[in-house]
Amino acid sequence: MGVGIEVRGLKAFYGKNESLHSVDITMPANHVTAVIGPSGCGKSTFVRCLNRMHETIPEAHAEGSVKVGEMDVYGSGSDPVEVRRRIGMVFQKPNPFPTMSIYGNVAAGLKLNGFRNRKQMDELVERSLKLAALWDEVKDDLHKKSGASLSGGQQQRLCIARSLAVEPEVLLMDEPASALDPISTSKIEELIFQLKQHYTVVIVTHNMQQAARVAELTGFFLMGNLIEFDKTEKIFTTPADKRTEDYVTGRFG
């Protein structure tokens, strides 16, 4: 099951430059939260802070508190590897391991985590591919085809399956459908809707219609600040802040 995310006073830095300014936000378990805003507003930085991916950039660091369920992401003794196992991430461009089979791609994370039981691994791979709505399309080619031989939309679902295999509680998605055609996009969106039964999902998107379609809650970021966070239907019909209204109506950004 998914767990809630509680963020308090989160700041992100690139060197000395503060790019995210003391963000407070509570994202409930088993909900889809969309993060929107113009380029450079800090939305991707925010999401990358949630699973400590931000600090992998040289000279970047974050301050503040992020709690994912009971886990204190930035607490002393917190292990970034364990954090990233429990908080999976899917990126804009599908990035399957090109030389590995479909099966190998999904099992990669399990192997990295020291998983060796073959029967259980088979079960987890199948379960993950089913959850990612890809199983029926690839079940006969698991070992025959490489991940790179799949279509763009299938590759992205393969990457989702790879993230799900290590049984995370939260799934972060950074523009997961921006490189896909409309049919693949609609499959990913339908998948996101299904995934929230098991996971808490945070999705960064430039596509406001996509946020409106998949997310129950939406946060609007501008220049490193969280301007407004509310139910998605409120943000897109009657936002409280003029800056949100100007952005969602396309008057800037």
């Binding site: 406001m208 409106a212 409120k234 019909t237 009657t238 209204e245 969602v248 109506t249 396309g250």
Partner: protein, 222 residues
């Protein structure tokens, strides 16, 4: 430079205001027909209905295109929804004007009788409501729309008073029953036009403030 979308919104507003002008003209002509007992005005209302119906179709089509092609959000989305609803109300205003014109034609065919009801005064109040509601729409002014909501009570009262005296008139003697019934129906048509003006004002408030003030409440989305 205006974006294509903004041009579309402006065009929608312009078309709706033009349709509003046609609806106002229909009320004024129907009232003039009653005042002068001149069937020429009735004919103008009857033939003018086509233009209103055609305008309704055009506005619906343009609004549908903008929704499908531009996927508007927030205040733009509320604006288009308001336009669609106001469009339907204005078309109904046109229908009510036609109803009045038909009743006036009936009145003209009957002997003229003195009835203690001031229909032109009621029509003036109703016409003012429609005019103000459209002004509120033109300028996006919720406070002008609120004033329209207040006026509805006055028209309701006028209609109630008309009903009392006309029913009494019918009870007093059958000689002018038909004429009294026509006038009573005209009062009801006018009262319905006032209701449409009220709806238009409520839609303007929804567009500008995002508040649903229908049915006497002020509901903001939570």
């Amino acid at each position: 430079m205006r974006s294509r979308f903004q041009q579309g919104l402006d065009e929608l507003k312009e078309k709706l205001l033009r349709m509003g002008g046609l609806a106002e003209q229909a009320i004024d002509r129907a009232t003039e027909a009653y005042r002068t007992r001149d069937s020429k005005y009735c004919q103008m209302v009857l033939t003018g209905e086509n233009a209103i119906n055609e305008a309704e179709r055009e506005i619906d089509e343009l609004a549908l295109d903008l929704l499908a092609m531009q996927q508007p959000m927030a205040i733009d989305l509320r604006f288009i929804l308001a336009v669609l609803k106001i469009n339907a109300d204005l078309e109904r205003v046109g229908d009510q004007a036609v109803n009045i014109a038909q009743r006036v034609l009936d009145l003209i065919s009957e002997e003229e009788v003195e009835l203690p009801v001031d229909i032109p005064r009621m029509a003036d109040a109703v016409s003012t409501m429609v005019q103000r509601a459209l002004e509120a729409f033109l300028d996006g002014k919720a406070e002008v729309a609120e004033a329209v909501l207040q006026m509805d009570n006055i028209v309701d009262r006028m209609k109630d008073e008309a009903f009392v005296v006309l029913v009494q008139k019918m009870q007093d003697g059958p000689a002018c029953t038909r004429q009294a019934l026509d006038v009573l129906l005209i009062a009801r048509n006018l009262e319905r036009i006032a209701d449409h003006a009220t709806n238009i004002a409520e839609d303007v408030i929804f567009w500008v403030r995002g508040a649903d003030v229908r049915h006497g409440g002020a509901h903001f989305r939570e």
